[in-house]
Amino acid sequence: MAVQDRLDDLRARFPGCRIVAFADLSTGLVFAASTAERVGQERLDALCADATQQLDSAATQAVSEHVFQTQLAPAGSISIGSQVVTCVVSLPDRGAEALCMTCDRTVRVVELMRAAADVLSDLCEEA
Protein backbone atom coordinates (compact mmCIF):
# COMPACT_ATOMS: atom_id res chain seq x y z
CA MET A 1 0.00 0.00 0.00
CA ALA A 2 1.31 3.46 -0.86
CA VAL A 3 2.27 5.87 1.90
CA GLN A 4 -0.64 8.17 1.10
CA ASP A 5 -3.11 5.27 1.23
CA ARG A 6 -1.80 4.18 4.60
CA LEU A 7 -2.19 7.68 6.04
CA ASP A 8 -5.69 8.02 4.55
CA ASP A 9 -6.65 4.64 5.95
CA LEU A 10 -5.36 5.49 9.41
CA ARG A 11 -7.23 8.80 9.50
CA ALA A 12 -10.43 7.21 8.19
CA ARG A 13 -10.39 4.68 11.03
CA PHE A 14 -10.61 7.49 13.58
CA PRO A 15 -13.40 9.95 12.84
CA GLY A 16 -12.36 13.24 14.41
CA CYS A 17 -8.75 12.78 13.38
CA ARG A 18 -8.10 15.83 11.23
CA ILE A 19 -4.49 15.52 10.14
CA VAL A 20 -2.03 12.67 9.91
CA ALA A 21 1.38 13.74 8.65
CA PHE A 22 4.42 11.54 8.02
CA ALA A 23 7.51 13.62 8.66
CA ASP A 24 11.19 13.60 9.39
CA LEU A 25 11.54 15.55 12.61
CA SER A 26 15.30 16.05 12.22
CA THR A 27 14.82 18.08 9.05
CA GLY A 28 11.24 19.28 9.52
CA LEU A 29 10.30 17.74 6.19
CA VAL A 30 6.73 16.50 5.78
CA PHE A 31 6.79 13.55 3.36
CA ALA A 32 3.04 13.03 3.06
CA ALA A 33 -0.15 14.00 4.84
CA SER A 34 -3.79 13.03 5.00
CA THR A 35 -6.16 15.79 6.05
CA ALA A 36 -9.88 16.01 6.71
CA GLU A 37 -10.07 19.40 5.06
CA ARG A 38 -7.72 21.31 2.81
CA VAL A 39 -4.78 22.69 4.79
CA GLY A 40 -1.81 24.70 3.67
CA GLN A 41 1.81 23.58 3.77
CA GLU A 42 2.50 26.12 6.51
CA ARG A 43 0.05 24.34 8.81
CA LEU A 44 1.73 21.01 8.18
CA ASP A 45 5.11 22.61 8.83
CA ALA A 46 3.76 24.09 12.08
CA LEU A 47 2.46 20.66 13.13
CA CYS A 48 5.85 19.14 12.40
CA ALA A 49 7.61 21.91 14.35
CA ASP A 50 5.23 21.36 17.27
CA ALA A 51 5.93 17.63 17.21
CA THR A 52 9.68 18.28 17.19
CA GLN A 53 9.31 20.62 20.13
CA GLN A 54 7.23 18.07 22.02
CA LEU A 55 9.86 15.36 21.64
CA ASP A 56 12.99 17.51 21.89
CA SER A 57 12.20 19.79 24.81
CA ALA A 58 14.27 19.81 27.98
CA ALA A 59 11.23 18.53 29.86
CA THR A 60 10.94 15.57 27.49
CA GLN A 61 14.58 14.67 27.96
CA ALA A 62 14.15 14.92 31.72
CA VAL A 63 11.07 12.67 31.61
CA SER A 64 13.05 10.06 29.67
CA GLU A 65 15.98 10.21 32.01
CA HIS A 66 14.30 10.55 35.39
CA VAL A 67 10.90 8.94 35.00
CA PHE A 68 11.19 6.35 32.23
CA GLN A 69 14.88 5.93 33.13
CA THR A 70 16.09 5.41 29.57
CA GLN A 71 18.36 7.20 27.16
CA LEU A 72 15.75 6.86 24.40
CA ALA A 73 13.24 9.59 23.67
CA PRO A 74 9.61 8.80 24.52
CA ALA A 75 7.72 6.84 21.89
CA GLY A 76 4.89 9.31 21.92
CA SER A 77 3.77 12.66 23.16
CA ILE A 78 0.36 14.25 23.46
CA SER A 79 -0.31 17.93 23.84
CA ILE A 80 -3.78 18.69 25.15
CA GLY A 81 -5.50 21.84 23.95
CA SER A 82 -9.00 22.89 24.90
CA GLN A 83 -10.31 22.06 21.43
CA VAL A 84 -7.78 19.77 19.80
CA VAL A 85 -5.23 17.20 20.83
CA THR A 86 -1.91 17.06 19.04
CA CYS A 87 -0.02 13.77 19.13
CA VAL A 88 3.27 12.54 17.80
CA VAL A 89 4.40 8.95 17.52
CA SER A 90 8.01 8.04 16.83
CA LEU A 91 10.27 5.01 16.88
CA PRO A 92 13.15 6.40 18.91
CA ASP A 93 15.41 3.41 18.30
CA ARG A 94 15.00 3.58 14.52
CA GLY A 95 15.22 7.16 13.34
CA ALA A 96 13.71 10.60 13.16
CA GLU A 97 10.58 9.69 11.20
CA ALA A 98 7.33 10.32 13.02
CA LEU A 99 3.61 10.50 12.54
CA CYS A 100 2.16 13.79 13.70
CA MET A 101 -1.58 14.01 14.25
CA THR A 102 -4.21 16.53 15.16
CA CYS A 103 -7.57 15.31 16.37
CA ASP A 104 -10.70 16.29 18.22
CA ARG A 105 -11.06 15.51 21.91
CA THR A 106 -13.60 12.83 21.05
CA VAL A 107 -11.01 10.55 19.44
CA ARG A 108 -9.73 7.60 21.48
CA VAL A 109 -6.18 8.86 21.46
CA VAL A 110 -4.49 5.79 22.92
CA GLU A 111 -6.00 3.59 20.24
CA LEU A 112 -5.04 6.11 17.58
CA MET A 113 -1.45 6.23 18.77
CA ARG A 114 -1.15 2.44 18.85
CA ALA A 115 -2.48 2.22 15.30
CA ALA A 116 -0.15 5.04 14.26
CA ALA A 117 2.83 3.22 15.75
CA ASP A 118 2.00 0.15 13.64
CA VAL A 119 1.68 2.28 10.50
CA LEU A 120 4.92 4.11 11.23
CA SER A 121 6.72 0.84 11.83
CA ASP A 122 5.54 -0.46 8.44
CA LEU A 123 6.52 2.77 6.70
CA CYS A 124 9.99 2.72 8.21
CA GLU A 125 10.51 -0.92 7.31
CA GLU A 126 9.54 -0.27 3.72
CA ALA A 127 11.73 2.83 3.41
Partner: protein, 244 residues
Protein backbone atom coordinates in the same frame (compact mmCIF):
# COMPACT_ATOMS: atom_id res chain seq x y z
CA UNK B 1 -17.05 -1.58 25.58
CA UNK B 2 -20.06 0.35 26.87
CA UNK B 3 -19.78 3.42 29.11
CA UNK B 4 -21.31 1.42 31.97
CA UNK B 5 -18.67 -1.28 31.63
CA UNK B 6 -15.98 1.35 31.42
CA UNK B 7 -17.30 3.01 34.60
CA UNK B 8 -17.24 -0.33 36.41
CA UNK B 9 -13.74 -1.01 35.13
CA UNK B 10 -12.51 2.37 36.38
CA UNK B 11 -14.16 1.92 39.76
CA UNK B 12 -12.60 -1.51 40.19
CA UNK B 13 -9.27 -0.17 39.02
CA UNK B 14 -9.42 2.60 41.61
CA UNK B 15 -10.32 0.21 44.42
CA UNK B 16 -7.43 -2.11 43.48
CA UNK B 17 -5.08 0.86 43.31
CA UNK B 18 -6.14 2.00 46.76
CA UNK B 19 -5.53 -1.49 48.14
CA UNK B 20 -1.97 -1.32 46.83
CA UNK B 21 -1.29 1.94 48.63
CA UNK B 22 -0.18 2.38 52.23
CA UNK B 23 -3.17 2.66 54.61
CA UNK B 24 -4.69 6.11 54.83
CA UNK B 25 -4.09 7.93 58.12
CA UNK B 26 -6.68 6.84 60.66
CA UNK B 27 -8.12 8.75 63.60
CA UNK B 28 -10.73 7.95 66.23
CA UNK B 29 -13.31 9.15 63.70
CA UNK B 30 -12.08 6.73 61.03
CA UNK B 31 -9.70 7.05 58.12
CA UNK B 32 -8.91 10.42 56.63
CA UNK B 33 -10.40 10.63 53.13
CA UNK B 34 -10.11 14.35 52.52
CA UNK B 35 -7.46 16.80 53.67
CA UNK B 36 -3.66 16.72 53.75
CA UNK B 37 -3.42 16.42 50.00
CA UNK B 38 -6.31 14.00 49.57
CA UNK B 39 -9.42 14.73 47.54
CA UNK B 40 -11.68 17.73 48.09
CA UNK B 41 -14.37 16.97 50.72
CA UNK B 42 -17.32 16.72 48.35
CA UNK B 43 -15.44 14.58 45.82
CA UNK B 44 -14.18 12.31 48.60
CA UNK B 45 -17.67 11.75 50.01
CA UNK B 46 -19.17 11.05 46.60
CA UNK B 47 -16.36 8.62 45.83
CA UNK B 48 -16.85 6.78 49.14
CA UNK B 49 -20.54 6.36 48.40
CA UNK B 50 -19.86 5.28 44.84
CA UNK B 51 -17.45 2.58 46.00
CA UNK B 52 -19.80 1.06 48.59
CA UNK B 53 -21.70 -1.85 47.15
CA UNK B 54 -22.51 -4.02 50.18
CA UNK B 55 -24.82 -2.58 52.86
CA UNK B 56 -22.80 -0.29 55.09
CA UNK B 57 -23.31 2.61 57.47
CA UNK B 58 -20.84 5.31 56.55
CA UNK B 59 -20.22 8.02 59.12
CA UNK B 60 -18.41 11.05 57.77
CA UNK B 61 -16.83 13.37 60.33
CA UNK B 62 -15.71 16.94 59.81
CA UNK B 63 -14.09 18.19 62.99
CA UNK B 64 -15.09 16.98 66.41
CA UNK B 65 -18.85 17.40 66.50
CA UNK B 66 -20.01 17.47 62.90
CA UNK B 67 -20.98 14.09 61.50
CA UNK B 68 -23.09 12.80 58.65
CA UNK B 69 -24.43 9.26 58.91
CA UNK B 70 -25.54 7.51 55.72
CA UNK B 71 -26.87 4.04 55.12
CA UNK B 72 -25.49 2.87 51.78
CA UNK B 73 -26.19 -0.12 49.61
CA UNK B 74 -25.50 -0.77 45.94
CA UNK B 75 -23.69 2.60 45.75
CA UNK B 76 -26.84 4.48 46.71
CA UNK B 77 -27.77 6.38 49.85
CA UNK B 78 -30.74 4.57 51.29
CA UNK B 79 -31.13 6.75 54.43
CA UNK B 80 -29.47 9.72 56.02
CA UNK B 81 -29.32 10.28 59.76
CA UNK B 82 -31.73 7.41 60.34
CA UNK B 83 -34.57 9.17 58.52
CA UNK B 84 -37.05 7.78 56.04
CA UNK B 85 -35.92 5.77 53.02
CA UNK B 86 -34.77 8.07 50.21
CA UNK B 87 -35.67 7.97 46.56
CA UNK B 88 -34.51 9.81 43.45
CA UNK B 89 -37.02 12.56 44.24
CA UNK B 90 -34.97 13.36 47.37
CA UNK B 91 -31.75 13.92 45.41
CA UNK B 92 -31.79 17.72 45.63
CA UNK B 93 -32.40 17.76 49.39
CA UNK B 94 -29.77 15.07 49.97
CA UNK B 95 -27.23 16.90 47.82
CA UNK B 96 -27.90 20.12 49.73
CA UNK B 97 -27.36 18.32 53.05
CA UNK B 98 -24.03 16.89 51.88
CA UNK B 99 -22.95 20.23 50.44
CA UNK B 100 -23.79 22.00 53.72
CA UNK B 101 -21.82 19.36 55.63
CA UNK B 102 -18.78 19.95 53.40
CA UNK B 103 -18.94 23.74 53.63
CA UNK B 104 -15.89 24.93 55.50
CA UNK B 105 -14.65 21.39 56.22
CA UNK B 106 -10.91 21.11 55.79
CA UNK B 107 -10.68 17.41 56.54
CA UNK B 108 -13.16 14.56 56.35
CA UNK B 109 -12.84 11.23 58.14
CA UNK B 110 -14.84 8.15 57.30
CA UNK B 111 -15.88 5.28 59.52
CA UNK B 112 -17.55 2.32 57.81
CA UNK B 113 -19.64 -0.27 59.64
CA UNK B 114 -21.60 -3.23 58.40
CA UNK B 115 -25.28 -2.34 58.20
CA UNK B 116 -27.52 -4.47 60.38
CA UNK B 117 -30.24 -4.58 57.74
CA UNK B 118 -30.17 -4.51 53.97
CA UNK B 119 -32.35 -2.10 52.03
CA UNK B 120 -35.92 -3.30 51.86
CA UNK B 121 -37.64 -3.94 48.56
CA UNK B 122 -38.70 -0.66 47.03
CA UNK B 123 -36.06 1.36 48.87
CA UNK B 124 -34.14 2.62 45.85
CA UNK B 125 -32.20 5.42 47.51
CA UNK B 126 -30.24 8.19 45.78
CA UNK B 127 -27.32 7.44 43.48
CA UNK B 128 -24.16 9.50 43.10
CA UNK B 129 -25.32 10.31 39.58
CA UNK B 130 -28.54 11.76 41.02
CA UNK B 131 -26.51 13.82 43.47
CA UNK B 132 -24.09 15.10 40.87
CA UNK B 133 -26.99 16.31 38.77
CA UNK B 134 -28.08 18.48 41.68
CA UNK B 135 -24.67 19.66 42.81
CA UNK B 136 -22.91 22.60 41.36
CA UNK B 137 -19.68 20.63 41.05
CA UNK B 138 -18.35 22.38 37.97
CA UNK B 139 -16.34 25.50 38.81
CA UNK B 140 -16.82 28.63 36.72
CA UNK B 141 -14.94 28.60 33.42
CA UNK B 142 -12.60 31.41 34.47
CA UNK B 143 -11.74 29.99 37.89
CA UNK B 144 -8.53 28.26 36.84
CA UNK B 145 -7.30 27.12 40.29
CA UNK B 146 -10.71 25.59 41.05
CA UNK B 147 -10.85 23.94 37.62
CA UNK B 148 -7.43 22.43 38.19
CA UNK B 149 -8.37 21.17 41.67
CA UNK B 150 -11.53 19.66 40.22
CA UNK B 151 -9.64 17.96 37.35
CA UNK B 152 -6.99 16.74 39.77
CA UNK B 153 -9.61 15.15 42.02
CA UNK B 154 -11.33 13.61 39.01
CA UNK B 155 -8.16 12.17 37.51
CA UNK B 156 -6.64 11.03 40.82
CA UNK B 157 -8.30 7.64 40.55
CA UNK B 158 -6.42 7.03 37.28
CA UNK B 159 -3.07 8.03 38.72
CA UNK B 160 -0.41 5.70 40.00
CA UNK B 161 1.45 8.65 41.51
CA UNK B 162 0.98 12.41 41.79
CA UNK B 163 3.42 15.16 42.71
CA UNK B 164 1.72 18.53 43.01
CA UNK B 165 4.24 21.31 43.46
CA UNK B 166 3.50 24.98 44.15
CA UNK B 167 6.02 27.76 43.75
CA UNK B 168 5.72 28.61 47.45
CA UNK B 169 7.58 25.38 48.14
CA UNK B 170 4.53 23.30 49.04
CA UNK B 171 4.60 19.82 47.55
CA UNK B 172 1.89 17.23 47.91
CA UNK B 173 2.44 13.63 46.92
CA UNK B 174 0.10 10.71 46.57
CA UNK B 175 0.43 7.17 45.28
CA UNK B 176 3.29 4.77 44.80
CA UNK B 177 6.35 6.08 46.55
CA UNK B 178 8.83 4.80 43.95
CA UNK B 179 7.01 6.65 41.17
CA UNK B 180 6.60 9.76 43.33
CA UNK B 181 10.36 9.69 43.84
CA UNK B 182 10.88 9.72 40.05
CA UNK B 183 8.32 12.48 39.49
CA UNK B 184 9.86 14.58 42.25
CA UNK B 185 12.98 14.95 40.09
CA UNK B 186 10.96 16.80 37.48
CA UNK B 187 10.82 20.52 37.87
CA UNK B 188 10.81 21.94 34.39
CA UNK B 189 7.69 22.80 32.47
CA UNK B 190 6.83 21.31 29.08
CA UNK B 191 7.56 23.62 26.19
CA UNK B 192 4.60 22.67 24.08
CA UNK B 193 3.26 25.17 21.61
CA UNK B 194 -0.27 23.86 22.18
CA UNK B 195 -1.31 25.98 25.11
CA UNK B 196 -4.68 27.23 26.16
CA UNK B 197 -4.63 30.35 28.25
CA UNK B 198 -2.07 29.90 30.98
CA UNK B 199 -2.30 26.13 31.05
CA UNK B 200 0.09 23.68 29.43
CA UNK B 201 -0.76 19.99 29.42
CA UNK B 202 1.53 17.40 27.95
CA UNK B 203 1.65 13.63 28.15
CA UNK B 204 4.62 11.43 27.37
CA UNK B 205 4.34 7.77 26.49
CA UNK B 206 7.38 5.57 26.94
CA UNK B 207 8.34 2.33 25.28
CA UNK B 208 5.48 -0.15 24.68
CA UNK B 209 6.62 -2.11 27.74
CA UNK B 210 6.04 0.88 30.05
CA UNK B 211 2.81 0.45 31.99
CA UNK B 212 2.44 4.15 32.70
CA UNK B 213 2.49 7.48 30.92
CA UNK B 214 3.50 10.83 32.38
CA UNK B 215 1.29 13.90 32.47
CA UNK B 216 2.50 17.37 33.33
CA UNK B 217 0.02 20.17 33.92
CA UNK B 218 1.69 23.49 34.29
CA UNK B 219 0.22 26.84 35.26
CA UNK B 220 2.00 29.88 36.63
CA UNK B 221 2.98 29.04 40.19
CA UNK B 222 2.12 25.36 40.05
CA UNK B 223 3.16 22.18 38.29
CA UNK B 224 1.43 18.82 38.63
CA UNK B 225 3.20 15.64 37.57
CA UNK B 226 1.23 12.42 37.34
CA UNK B 227 2.12 8.85 36.40
CA UNK B 228 -0.98 7.48 34.72
CA UNK B 229 -2.12 4.05 33.71
CA UNK B 230 -1.88 4.07 29.90
CA UNK B 231 -5.28 2.40 29.63
CA UNK B 232 -6.87 5.35 31.44
CA UNK B 233 -5.27 8.06 29.33
CA UNK B 234 -8.30 8.88 27.21
CA UNK B 235 -10.34 9.73 30.28
CA UNK B 236 -7.55 11.87 31.66
CA UNK B 237 -7.19 13.71 28.36
CA UNK B 238 -10.90 14.46 28.43
CA UNK B 239 -10.72 15.66 32.03
CA UNK B 240 -7.74 17.95 31.52
CA UNK B 241 -8.92 19.30 28.19
CA UNK B 242 -11.77 20.93 30.09
CA UNK B 243 -9.30 23.02 32.09
CA UNK B 244 -8.36 26.34 30.58
Amino acid sequence: MSDAHRDDEHRLHHVLQQLALPPEPATAAGRLISGSGADAPLAAILRAIDETVLPRVLTFSAGTDSTLRCEIAERRIIRMEGGDALSTADAAQTAATIEAFCAGASAICLRSEIATAAAAAGEVGVSVGDLRACLDTEPAAGDLPALIDCALAESASHALAIVDRQDDGTTQEKGQSALCERLRRMDSTPASSETSGDVTRQIWIGAPSERFAVLCVSVPGRSIWMALDVEQLDDCIDIWARVG
